[in-house]
Symmetry: D2
Subunit: 357 residues, 4 copies
Amino acid sequence: MKMKGFGTIVHGESVGFIEKDIPEPGEFEALMEPVVIAPCTSDVHIAFEQGHNDARNHRILGHESVGRIVKLGAGCKEYKVGDIVVVPCTTPNWRTLEVQDGAYQHSGGLCQGMRIGTSQDGVMAEYYLVNDVEMNTAKIPEGVSLESALMVSDMMTTGFHGVELAGVEFGDNVVVIGTGPVGLMAIVAAKLRGAARIIAVGSRSRCVELAKQYGASDVVNYKDGDIYEQIMYLTGGKKVDRTVIAGGGTEQLPIAYKLTRPAGGIGDLVAADTPPRLNIDTADFCRFVAHHRLAGGLCPGGRRRAERLLGLIQYGRVDPSLMLTHKCYGLDGCKDSFEMMRNKTDELIKPIVYMNV
Amino acid sequence: MKMKGFGTIVHGESVGFIEKDIPEPGEFEALMEPVVIAPCTSDVHIAFEQGHNDARNHRILGHESVGRIVKLGAGCKEYKVGDIVVVPCTTPNWRTLEVQDGAYQHSGGLCQGMRIGTSQDGVMAEYYLVNDVEMNTAKIPEGVSLESALMVSDMMTTGFHGVELAGVEFGDNVVVIGTGPVGLMAIVAAKLRGAARIIAVGSRSRCVELAKQYGASDVVNYKDGDIYEQIMYLTGGKKVDRTVIAGGGTEQLPIAYKLTRPAGGIGDLVAADTPPRLNIDTADFCRFVAHHRLAGGLCPGGRRRAERLLGLIQYGRVDPSLMLTHKCYGLDGCKDSFEMMRNKTDELIKPIVYMNV
Amino acid sequence: MKMKGFGTIVHGESVGFIEKDIPEPGEFEALMEPVVIAPCTSDVHIAFEQGHNDARNHRILGHESVGRIVKLGAGCKEYKVGDIVVVPCTTPNWRTLEVQDGAYQHSGGLCQGMRIGTSQDGVMAEYYLVNDVEMNTAKIPEGVSLESALMVSDMMTTGFHGVELAGVEFGDNVVVIGTGPVGLMAIVAAKLRGAARIIAVGSRSRCVELAKQYGASDVVNYKDGDIYEQIMYLTGGKKVDRTVIAGGGTEQLPIAYKLTRPAGGIGDLVAADTPPRLNIDTADFCRFVAHHRLAGGLCPGGRRRAERLLGLIQYGRVDPSLMLTHKCYGLDGCKDSFEMMRNKTDELIKPIVYMNV
Amino acid sequence: MKMKGFGTIVHGESVGFIEKDIPEPGEFEALMEPVVIAPCTSDVHIAFEQGHNDARNHRILGHESVGRIVKLGAGCKEYKVGDIVVVPCTTPNWRTLEVQDGAYQHSGGLCQGMRIGTSQDGVMAEYYLVNDVEMNTAKIPEGVSLESALMVSDMMTTGFHGVELAGVEFGDNVVVIGTGPVGLMAIVAAKLRGAARIIAVGSRSRCVELAKQYGASDVVNYKDGDIYEQIMYLTGGKKVDRTVIAGGGTEQLPIAYKLTRPAGGIGDLVAADTPPRLNIDTADFCRFVAHHRLAGGLCPGGRRRAERLLGLIQYGRVDPSLMLTHKCYGLDGCKDSFEMMRNKTDELIKPIVYMNV
């Protein structure tokens, strides 16, 4: 049995529609059909950047989805065919030693907790597999829309992780660099973690508007001048407690160090650029003596993480569906939405693709 | 020079107006006149309960205030006479070994970081002293009302501490026992720390109403039956992630253990009763094997804490002034408001006393 | 095929030899034969105490072992028949939601991460099963004796956990209540976590001697008078930073609170007594306001934990085999050693039973 | 009244003996005479490097000392003239807002918690001042030699901090880069924090010998080839859990990232080079996605820190005096020992200067 999907044709060169065999679910796996999916900036990187882990030719793209279970492996006991679940982009193997070392995102190797749309075929297809489905996906509670649930897959868990990595505490002043969908979720997360002032750095108008609605106290446009200078002007020269890097490239790291007070925290959500070189003035790092804490990492996954984030939506703490500015439909919509991420307009935050609603 | 104040006449027996010498500020101290103050349930305990630390005869009561600086010690360099500042109820001596051990609330002895209205005369007076005023008080930022600022002194720092002690994380389901002003602030704090569902336990109608406005998803009335049973009914039998004890007495502790899942956290804001005996069924404690974490403690103080909480008000994250249900005026108002705390009506949350606005 | 084992005949009443079918390993399981095993005080509790989880009639006892793999489930890929591995007493199912909530000891329910010798048959037998053997057991590195490796199963992971729960830091003064084998391992662990002074509480002479060899600075005998008074005498009235409860019963908890300074930590390894009632004077708890942190819980398990503890032995940081004071042999030795744990003599620390070396 | 000292003549150019007024202690200060002191590699940097904070002409050098109190400010209540105390190199002002933000090392500005021998005159003199002497220095307990106590000032607190920053846990495999006296103390600290295997990186023979005595399992010589390759060879290709950078320059940072497993920790004790530029291949950083935690910072100070480290010596956990390979005497010895640090021989670990024993 064949199915159609949208993915790489030649990695690094071309994307398009491809045909593959419908996969068969293993013992703890599920075969899903996508209900709603969303494209991600990472899909563009995965398709076109050199050196990306596990990228290859004829790989179906897409890792953000809500799916309907079509077929279940024999080891699945709790879910049943027809169930609709959020599929986080990080779906680790829980039976690995990395889990026991507190690094389940890196189960089986660096970032190998993320498989869908990278080391296995993704969600921009008629069908896709999810590994360990009862450990890795969550049912959608009453009162949570498909649109909001979809944002749990990646945007929400990633943005919230930035705030966790930075270690935001009550009353902290926080900078969030980036106001794309991950940055927007980091802004909400900073508010929901107890930040006082939240200074966002962004430029596209619709993103800036939503940043304010989500809790940004101020928005600085990097096109208006040096970020550091602009923020010091706003704060009267006081460094902030925490910085989340949710946009830009590696060049944001020295800026984050410079913005953040001694013993403050930096959460990095941005993988290094290609080519991966960083030429920095360590004076910005306070010569590494200032007790800054820096941590970065692939977003959390797993069923409990998804349930917790869905809980935040269910109890009205956040409405991530406000980010969905554009609608597409069906497999053709996968391609359309992918192109939107390649050529971001001022009006775009995030597209949704309605597949099998 | 004499001044008038409201306090204990005979400790454990009677309160009333007393006259004392106006104190002289030491090197790093300030003499303050109260601008607005609030009475606290603790004032009633301090006045009437045996065994309370440092309580004694002829002690002026009151530890929640915004004050105006009248006279400054020679060591003060940044503040000036006339400045209006929030005075936290915890005003530790920062030059102690306990600070270096991470226990500044216990500088100089158990709970000795709280002095005003306990081991030294309080704020229900024409004047009062504040120790180490530039380390312990904070100026009120633009846009923050006197009423809101006043709530930083004790209610807000205490309620928020309960959530810190319990270790609330994103998406946690949290129980807050108590919907008095400390419980209400714990509810806001749980929301601002990323809780999903917040189940409050309370009964007085105005408190319950505000609990919902502040973020409680459900309110359970302990008069309607066993708390544990009611909450298990609401959750479909699932224990919660964290419990904050912000009301009731020590008998809440076994209930908190029973409500909280393995590896969950319990934050205790309630000092043990008099007489201080606890007769518990340790089965409720899961026989101490369930990796619960229990911590309790006197609220944080110091200037930075106050600045951080004021920041939360300034940037619109919380409006604690909604708790101020009753207004009193002047020294007589201190007495009136104290009596309100002794005889809490259904309509009372928290009174404010306007002194020298 | 039948096998023989030592276990309960009638739970709560009698123990003896029983016959059972040799079990068949499931997909990720192994059938083991014991190489060396040790009895535990818990075995006595499991056999005779009411209310113990999962205890029942005809249950083979014993949860501390080094075993040889006899037969492997089809899902096992790394281990092979004949391999000798340490089998920790905690062997959780890693595919559970509790793992995702940071409570793998409670996978599938309170303390259900411990199965061997409780909810499934134990190691005092000709054969026993180990679930998820490649996630839960560890090979013994070169230079580590069978005797030392055996102590990793329970005594070492438990004693070390007490120090983790108490949060010992560099230069802390630490009390360890109990000098049985768990207490002894907590003493080593306190030293290996950076404690300065370590005050042990114990009485049996051989234990006391080894306590000193393992790093106890002082040993207090509870038979010589009140523990609190004796320790305050030693410290000149200064409370300690951390207390580990590794012996005695629940009545040690108020003592631990009283011994520990504000913001200090208490790690509890002792499950509550039967009947599980605790009648305490909360004055000893400093009325719950002193920022003590209390945590207790079943010991950590899993392969990485075992590998880490084996690493400590391999690199010469600890020699747990010093605790093995008595030797027994074969199935009869299981019974003999069990009786030794029931009737502890002054000369006993821990017996070892050589089974199939 | 004049005194003599050894320090900079022209900063960046020349050092020698200078004459200064004997300083007068302020309210909480003490005038000390040095009993024993030690030179530090940092003294050489402070004297000769551009851009070092607060360095200047005619600055007396030296920040490691045990001193005798000669004169006390009026605010000192506990110490008396003649007392001999360890003077940590970090002597913060405890009445600052940075203390309340958890960054006392940066009281009053970046690294301004370290004053002696940098922003105020140092210990290579007939007399020197210590600020807030009762909060910042510690008496030497019985059984602790002057030589060992001296090592608490800087070497021990700094080396131990590296292990704290890296977050070493039981059974971790740890790399310590550098086997100078700070690296040696980091090796002891790793052992005392529960490390299993400790791989040190160093070359000078006497240091290497002591590294092994202090607990290093293996020593890798960077002169024998690439550090990363040598360590991967030793471990069979397994990354380590934690890395402490206690030697070399900023170029060690990418190596540390490469050596350390996902979710591992890196503690950096090495300030960036002059000129402070770092040109790195971020592939070594796993593109910042591997949940590494990086922290670096000036060493902890204060009386309690010193008391805790002295406790470790008193109770026999560490003997830092083994590092003292060379002896000098008097003011001339300050100069001699400074020159030794400039021209480190293979036989040198650390000199001590006996001043007024």
